[in-house]
Amino acid sequence: MPVVDINTDELRQLAATEKDDDELKRDLFALGLEYEGETDDGDLQFEFAPDRLDRLSVEGVARSLRYQYGHDRGVYLPTTNDPEWVIEVEESVPDERPYVTGAVVRGLDMGEEELQSLIQLQEKLHATMGRQRAKGAIGVHDLTMLKGHRTDGDRSKSITYRGIEPEGDRFVPLDSDAELTPAGVLSDHPTGEQYADLVADYERYPAIYDDIGLFSLPPVINGRRTEVSTDSRDLFIELTGTDQWTIDKMCTIICYALDARGGRIERVAVEYPDRQLDRPDLSVTRKTVAHERIESVLGIDLDADSVVDYLERAGLDAEVGDDRVYEVSVPPYRVDVLHSIDVVDDVGRAYGFNDLEPGYPDVSTIGGCHDRTRREDAVRDVLVGLGFEDMLNFYLSSERECFDRMNLSFDSDPSSDAPFGVARPPTITEPYSEEYTIVRTWALPSLLMVLENNTHRSYPQDLSEIGLSAAVDESEETKVHEHRTVAAVLARTDASYEDAKARLQAIAAALGVTLETPPTAHPSFIDGRTAEVVLDGERAGVVGEIHPKVLLEHDLELPVAAFEFDLAAME
């Protein structure tokens, strides 16, 4: 979840309040911002759900508090000045990153705090909406360093968004003294290396030029020439990305933050080859909500005036129409309002969800367990009655555990008479750990691992498990055949085939199925002491004494008798 760092003095000033830190923490908790700790600089850190990304900086958090305190009501839209600057988009712009937007903000008087807040907001937007800059990346520049004289058109100044060759024009990136080509930035500059993956596959790299030349290499790094400092009063903000809506919203959130700091927003014309946009987009969106829906979701009766009041306290505007339907205006910094249900949620938050009395749905239904659960429970009862300690193992395992250490050889295309447990395992693409790479094909390997990890515990260790095993099966809808398997081991100094068979007989008798055990060969078991488990005439599993090779592989110094069969055979 996103975390925002807050200097509480700034917050008090921006939200126009005298409250102390503890009171602020309580008020912020009510907004859904949870106190997490402090930064080294003494800022307080708050974590919140990633819906209200307009709260990624102290300015946005302060705005929410002003609504909470009643200092502000309804929709606020900053005023903007007409554009002087144009962003020209050339045909050469890489297809992978075709979109650009921007804004000019003038008249700022930024101290160190304001500048840090802007940088934080930029980084946090990159991490969230910007999807680590892949979907949207922000560049902030000192406007006075840009030269964009333009002779044609109505506007007097422009910059250009284009695609350039990796070995094309050189420029000096931030935090560097060297003149580097775009490819050089990706290979030789630390920030370049960090974000190289985003553009490495592009034929042409995204680049922004003014009259002087290349000054930004989005989404990787800006040039040093236009670097922003506390002396910067006028800023040019540009955003590039893979989706116009996303970068426009990111731009809007930044403009609202700088507006709160006293900046004057000046629009920018974005000229694509085939269309022109006027940005930032500060228009409201509208949602229609029925009064009945608000009442039914919250489960309470409300009058129209109080609904409008709650909406205005949430920073929205509402007009009541005929039939008690509200026309709600949503300000442009909100990225989370997709449907009218989101407006209902705002009403609930303003009302205070915790003030609602719990009710109970007045509908009756009949409960019950799935057939599979009932079958599992019946077999587990018998196993526990026979003295088995019930285990609950991981379903994830590895080929090494399922096959190699069980003296089996893995076969990616096993025949139908392959030993029990040999199957094509569902395999994980990029596992973190070599110990968990497949879904297990049988459960006895898991029980042997438990025995292996518990050789210091007292014997006998009679363990059983009913759990999942799986195999790739092209005929299934999900291409995986999943089934429940019943496995048991008897680890004791005198364990023998007889002990395992006796318990198997008891289970078969208790569940009312016939058991036959014709001899078979299985590399995990001792020859001549291994049988197939045949239940009601169906081949369902294996029973026998575990092979000494397998025992020693698991550091076991005593015999183990074992069986495993498919639970479905108990139907």
Binding site: G32, D243, W245, T285, R286, T288, V297, G299, I300, V337, L338, H339, I341, D342, G348, F353, N354, P358, G359, Y360, P361, V363, S364, T365, G367, C369, H370, T373, R380, V384, G387, D390, M391, L392, N393, F394, Y395, L396, P426, T427, I428, T429, E430, P431, Y432, S433, V439, M449, V450, N453, N454, R457, Q461, A470, V472, E477, T478, K479, V480, E482
Partner: protein, 502 residues
């Protein structure tokens, strides 16, 4: 005086003038030591015998101690290596590790003891030695060789304490018992001791012959501990899962079942999770490489879900401004939550179209590509439930979950407004820990969004919630390492002794 046979034998063997070790008497009478000890205590109880206990301490080297005795203590090896390098000045530690034959944890051991003993200083990763010292007179090294050589010179206590702290020696105490006759014992012997005719075990013969009426039964020490046995028992986590199932069934919920490996369509797309949501990146998912994708998705439903993602639902609806690729939908993965089951049931894929009202639940495994540690598992059980009715409110949700948690002693449930891509309104649930009173997160809930329900063809309200079973179980059992509670790394001792208070 009549005494049982072993007691009579011990009394005969004991002397009034000297104490005799129990071990010796056991050898002499050819009985095992436990039997003789028990008899001796019974005689002491009757005042016929005195028992003297002597505790002796023996010291032995641990495996690590033996190794150091043979190869030298790590800090001395480091010192010698540094002196050899002519280290009046300082030498980077890295250059000394080879010559001193140090690696892994031994490096840390060498450095801390080197400094402690004042062999020199370590600063900024470099070692400088005080070359005037004589490592041959190191008290700890000397003590190790004394213990190894079993000489009689016991090392000074302080050195021994230090070695024990370093886990290089093990101290063991053993108690030897000896007996001597009391005056009453001597008197009893003088008066003559007869062996009582007692019976150890009640046999079928004794019962059928009627002989049981004339024999004495030997007394047992009924207060003593018996042998430890471990009966079969249901796994503690399974018991908790079963209890949750019983509660839910009692509240009218029916159980769902369905695939662990499923298409991303059912796991995420149907749930209105944008395809570029961070939780859907390859780092968090358990995507499968074999099999990789399914061809079998319900086409019309896929179209409706795609449209919801792109355009939202309803006239004024807005979708996600994220890419949506059907190939991604077809990819197979181990489910990250059991909501794929809810989606299959709500879509009518599992049991046909459902008419309200309905209540469904599942308690089954979900998978997260994470690192295994004491509080994180790669697979764990998720409790999931949902209620479908013509009309449901936030108050219905609150009442249902308050009722549920009260069954587990968790009261004062609080609902913190939250955000999920698939529910609105959404709430994180917090409750008071039944014993510590601490406020803890106990679940996540909400009303499914129209963008989830409309494509599935559901025209009424559905509220849902979920939580991890292991979280509830750690609260109930007090388990500190989640790996004991679930998985092949379990400690049988934990499972055998886990208190089941349900």
């Amino acid at each position: 005086m009549k005494l049982p046979r072993t007691q009579a034998a011990v009394l005969e063997a004991a002397s009034a003038t000297e104490t005799r070790p129990i071990a010796e008497i056991a050898d002499e009478t050819d009985e095992n030591r436990t039997t003789i000890t028990r008899a001796a205590f019974e005689l002491e109880e009757s005042g016929l015998l005195d028992i003297v206990e002597e505790t002796t301490e023996s010291v032995s080297l641990t495996t690590e101690g033996e190794r150091y005795d043979e190869h030298g203590l790590p800090e001395i090896r480091l010192y010698r290596a540094a002196v050899e390098r002519g280290a009046e000045g300082s030498v980077p530690i890295g250059e000394l590790l080879g010559p001193a034959d140090l690696d892994g944890p031994a490096v840390e051991i060498a450095l801390s003891n080197f400094a402690r003993k004042g062999y020199g200083e370590i600063e900024n990763g470099a070692v400088s030695v005080d070359s005037g010292l004589d490592p041959d007179s190191d008290a700890e090294a000397a003590a190790l060789s004394e213990i190894a050589g079993e000489t009689d010179d016991a090392p000074p206590g302080s050195v021994l304490d230090q070695l024990e702290r370093r886990d290089l020696v093990a101290r063991e105490e053993s108690t030897a018992r000896s007996v001597a006759l009391t005056d009453d014992g001597v008197t009893a012997l003088m008066e003559g001791v007869e062996i009582a005719d007692t019976v150890g075990q009640l046999t079928p013969e004794l019962l059928t012959s009627g002989e049981w009426q004339t024999v004495d039964f030997a007394e047992y020490n009924v207060a003593a501990d018996a042998e430890t046995i471990h009966g079969g028992r249901t796994h503690v986590l399974r018991r908790i899962a079963d209890r949750v199932k019983r509660v839910l069934v009692g509240m009218g919920f029916e159980e769902m079942d369905g695939p662990h490996a499923d298409a991303d369509f059912w796991i995420n797309d149907a749930l209105f999770m944008p395809q570029d949501h961070p939780a859907r990146t390859h780092w968090d998912r358990f995507a499968l490489s074999d099999p990789e994708h399914t061809d079998d998705l319900p086409e019309e439903l896929v179209d409706r879900v795609r449209s919801a993602h792109r355009n939202g639902v309803g006239e004024q609806g807005d979708g996600y401004h994220s890419p949506w690729d059907e190939d991604f939908s077809r990819e197979l993965a181990l489910r990250g939550h059991t909501t794929n089951l809810s989606m299959r049931y709500l879509a009518g894929e599992a049991e046909g179209d459902l008419e309200p009202p309905q209540r469904y639940f599942s308690i089954e495994k979900v998978y997260r590509n994470d690192t295994l540690d004491a509080t994180h598992l790669l697979e764990f059980f998720q409790i999931e439930g949902w209620v479908m009715a013509e009309e449901l409110s936030v108050r219905d949700l609150m009442g249902t979950f308050t009722e549920f948690y009260e069954q587990f002693g968790i009261t004062d449930v609080q609902f913190k407004p939250h955000y999920n891509p698939y529910t609105e309104p959404s709430f994180e649930l917090f409750g008071r820990h039944p014993t510590t009173g601490e406020l803890i997160e106990i679940g996540n809930s909400g009303l499914f969004r129209p963008e989830v329900l409309e494509p599935l063809g559901v025209e009424c309200d559905v509220m849902a919630w979920g939580l991890a079973l292991e979280r509830l179980a750690m609260l109930i059992t007090g388990a500190e390492d989640i790996r004991d509670l679930h998985g092949t790394l379990t400690d049988l001792d934990f499972l055998r002794t886990a208190e089941v208070t349900l």
